[in-house]
């Protein structure tokens, strides 16, 4: 069975020696690469670490682990992780490639928000994937929120989104969360469709958040996904899912820094409650533990 590896344990092992030498830095590089930081970011982090270690003169493994955690924390924390939901209704558009956990995330988010006392309606604008509407409806039921379904099979997603916003306006619902079909960023027609969905929503109300859902197991392609979705849908926040697995999601550091989009939420399981706000301190800690 796969186990969650521990960077800290590895580091402790390698830093257990009195000196920090080339092999040490190689080991550090290995551990960063294994966490999907990618070669570029790994290089940068190591350069920074060398600097910090030289300046502070540490030789103790515990100190080095701490330095690394602080470095990562600092870089991760440069962004604003709050969801901007002051509009009424506040519309959240959820996007991403296939299979990352959009619908599940919406279920959790709907529950999260309604537990905080706000009313929520979800829009089943994935009119393409087999039984996607039913899937979202099940989550809506579990979360105790309303769902707007398409009126006809294969209905235009933009019109379902529109109808969901309309419902919210007519019923004074606070928050709208729109589910969309998974799409690979290489499909230009589908990316255009996303732009259209956004435009159509904005005929009624500005879009408050566009959340791009990213699977923690993704490798370097995560960056390409973020850039493409940013361009076509104007992403305002990232959700990193499946962090309960063995993947670390280190690519998210590069995504934040290259696109300026903050990670706002993390998903840690298939249950309704498995969602939390992004906390750079605990994320850095889990990267390093």
């Amino acid at each position: 069975m796969a186990s969650k590896w521990s960077l800290g344990a590895k580091l402790k092992g390698m830093f257990g020696r009195a000196t920090i030498d080339d092999e040490t830095w190689d080991d550090l590089e290995s551990t960063l690469l294994s966490a999907d930081f990618g070669p570029d970011v790994a290089d940068q982090v190591i350069a920074q670490m060398r600097d910090m270690v030289a300046k502070s003169g540490v030789t103790d493994s515990a100190d080095v682990v701490r330095l690394l955690r602080e470095l990562l924390e600092e870089r991760l924390a440069r962004f604003d992780t709050t969801l901007k939901l002051s509009e009424r209704p506040a519309v959240i558009l959820v996007v991403g490639v296939n299979g990352v956990g959009k619908t599940t995330t919406i279920g959790k988010l709907a529950r999260f928000i309604s537990s905080a006392g706000r009313s929520v309606v979800v829009g089943a604008a994935d009119t393409f994937r087999a039984a996607a509407v039913d899937q979202l409806a099940t989550w809506a039921e579990r979360a105790g929120v309303e769902v707007v379904r398409p009126q006809s099979d294969g209905q235009d997603p933009a019109s379902v989104a529109f109808q969901t916003v309309e419902f919210a306006k007519n019923n004074g619902t606070d928050i709208v969360i729109v589910d969309t079909a998974g799409r690979l960023q290489t499909k230009s027609g589908l990316m255009d469709e996303l732009s259209k969905i956004r435009r159509v929503i904005e005929k009624q109300v500005p879009v408050s958040e566009v959340l791009l859902v990213l699977d923690a197991t993704t490798g370097q392609n995560g960056l390409a996904q973020a850039e493409a979705f940013l361009e076509h849908a104007g992403v305002t926040g990232l959700v990193l899912t499946k962090l309960d697995g063995s993947a670390k999601g280190g690519f998210v550091l590069a995504v934040q820094e290259r696109t300026g989009i903050p990670v706002k939420l993390v998903g840690t399981g298939e249950g309704l409650g498995d969602l939390s706000g992004f906390n750079p301190v605990s994320f850095a800690a889990q990267l390093v533990e």
Partner: protein, 520 residues
């Protein structure tokens, strides 16, 4: 995101220093290996696999069986491609069917990998092949997974066995077991069991998968993995291998632009073959796995060949300019012919270059027939001539030809044949340089050559193929590389090769080439 084209430029720089060296030193190899390592990591190949793989490449590169014709970087790159294709294609095989139906195929993998869609594709594919597949809904966990499979089954036109509603209701192991009996009773010859996505770290669910396996004794357990997965591929693959064990792999979402290094990681670490590639959301987007295409994709081979072509520089920009001038002014001599031959030889021998192209397997026969020794023999003849003789073949009377034959260990007939071929080539190149279309012996008119305006430009650096398909691009660039000796337009017309025809030289062209070299 760093791409292989970054690697191309980095390698080109280091290659400038390496050009001309025939031997491989660790220093030569290490530079290129470092770059390859980075490219593989960018392509999401797992670190341990990268280390292992580059270690083997390094070993092989420093070993004896190295081509003396390629420069060090090219040799390393060629070895890398070879090794990749070997590993990826290593255990290639087809789907195993049971002797006594039903054949049971179980699908397993992480959440969101594409198992359910794959189940539909497999079913449709098998149905087309005159089988009677039955889809079995054993994901009783993910909301409406059973519904999803039912819709998929309907689209694929196959039956679905779904006695339990799912959404937390029902026991997947029981359903799996029941499905076998059901298939036997109703005479379905293939059972495809869709299971819930599960994490490698989830002991309970891994046990469930193992229980499903034990209950159904599948003929195939297919591990479905997303092509965009990163370093976690190896941990996850190993977990599934230990927890359930699988007999084959399916790589999904290959229609994205993830490089797919996971393919190498999984095959390398588990030894299981990749059987299929899933290339889209529609049920038809399903094909057998092609290792050479995957190798190209991971390494972005189109770029490699462009790189080699640039690096090869089988001739300087100057050389080409001079050459073009010569064609125009009719001063193309045997010396020039000789140097063209030597370029061809230096170009890593057509064979090795061609061997690197995806799909080169089909050309293997032609390639094996292609004898580089012909070039050597031709060289020998020319080198036995005096400079004056090389400048002007009209000087070659009987006694001179006899001397030349003796000096090169050939016969006068051989010498005559060469001189004839040369004179034909010179004539042809002159025609092309002036903008005409030459008559190539054995090939008739060649379409598309009329643009030979004898441009004195160097083989244009930006002449690389623009095709989006890496394999096609590689082939086109190779064609251009081979063809690029000589005038700006007529590209290697002296050897009867088409001007960068897509797909590389055809068998006919290779034949013509051999004729020129006196073999055909």
């Amino acid at each position: 995101m760093a791409t292989f084209s970054d690697l191309s430029s980095r390698l080109t720089d280091s290659l400038k220093n390496l050009r001309g060296k025939g031997k491989l030193s660790p220093a030569d190899v290490d530079g290129t290996v470092r770059e390859i390592r980075r490219a593989l990591l960018d392509a999401d190949v797992s670190l341990d696999v990268v280390k292992d793989f580059t270690g083997r490449v390094r070993e092989r590169a420093l070993g004896d069986d190295v081509s003396k014709a390629l420069n060090p970087a090219q040799q390393v790159v060629q070895i890398v491609n070879d090794e990749l294709v070997t590993i990826l294609g290593g255990e290639q095989r087809r789907l195993e069917f049971a002797k006594k139906p039903p054949t049971v195929i179980m699908l397993a993998g992480l959440q969101g990998a594409g198992k359910t869609t794959l189940a539909g594709k497999l079913a449709k594919y098998l149905a087309k092949d005159k089988h009677t597949p039955l889809l079995v809904a054993c994901d009783l966990q993910r909301p409406n997974a059973v519904n999803q499979l039912q819709v998929v089954g309907e689209k694929a036109g196959v039956a679905v066995f779904a006695p339990e509603p799912g959404n937390g209701v029902g026991d997947p192991v029981k359903v799996a077991k029941q499905s076998i009996k059901y298939a036997q009773d109703k005479v379905y010859d293939v059972v495809i069991i869709d299971t819930a996505g599960r994490l490698g770290v989830d002991a309970e669910l891994m046990k469930q998968a193992s229980d499903i396996r034990k209950a159904t004794d599948p003929d195939e357990v297919l591990f479905v993995i997303d092509a965009m997965i990163g370093q976690d591929a190896i941990a996850t693959a190993k977990a599934f291998q230990e927890g359930v064990d699988f007999t084959g792999v399916v790589l999904s979402k290959l229609d994205g632009d993830a490089r797919g290094g996971a393919a190498l990681s999984v095959v390398s670490s588990t030894g299981r073959p990749i059987l299929f590639a899933s290339t889209g959301e529609s049920l038809d987007e399903f094909e057998p796995f092609y290792p050479d295409r995957m190798a190209s994709r991971i390494l972005d081979l189109g770029d490699i060949l462009t790189l080699i072509e640039q690096a090869q520089e089988a001739f300087d920009a100057d050389e080409a300019t001079k050459m073009a001038e010569k064609f125009k002014t009719d001063t193309f001599t045997l010396n020039d012919f000789l140097s063209q031959m030597q370029q061809l030889k230096k170009m890593g021998s057509l064979k090795n270059m061609m061997g690197m192209l995806p799909g080169a397997g089909k050309m293997k026969d032609q390639l094996d027939n292609f004898d580089e020794k012909e070039i050597t023999r031709t060289e020998a003849i020319i080198q036995s001539m005096t400079p004056a003789e090389r400048d002007n073949t009209k000087l070659l009377n009987g006694s001179r030809r006899l001397r030349i034959a003796k000096g090169s260990g050939m016969t006068v007939t051989d010498v005559n044949a060469l001189v004839n071929r040369f004179e034909q080539a010179a004539k042809m190149m002159k025609t092309v340089a002036k903008g005409g279309v030459p008559q190539v012996p054995g090939m008739g008119q060649m379409a598309g050559l009329a643009h030979g305006k004898g441009r004195s430009a160097a083989p244009a650096k930006k002449k690389g193929s623009k095709s989006g398909n890496p394999a096609k691009r590689a082939a086109e660039n190779a064609g251009l590389a081979v063809a690029a000796s000589g005038s700006g337009g007529a590209s290697g017309a002296g050897f009867g090769l088409g001007a960068g025809k897509p797909g590389g030289p055809t068998p006919e062209e290779l034949d013509a080439l051999q004729k020129f070299l006196g073999k055909g």
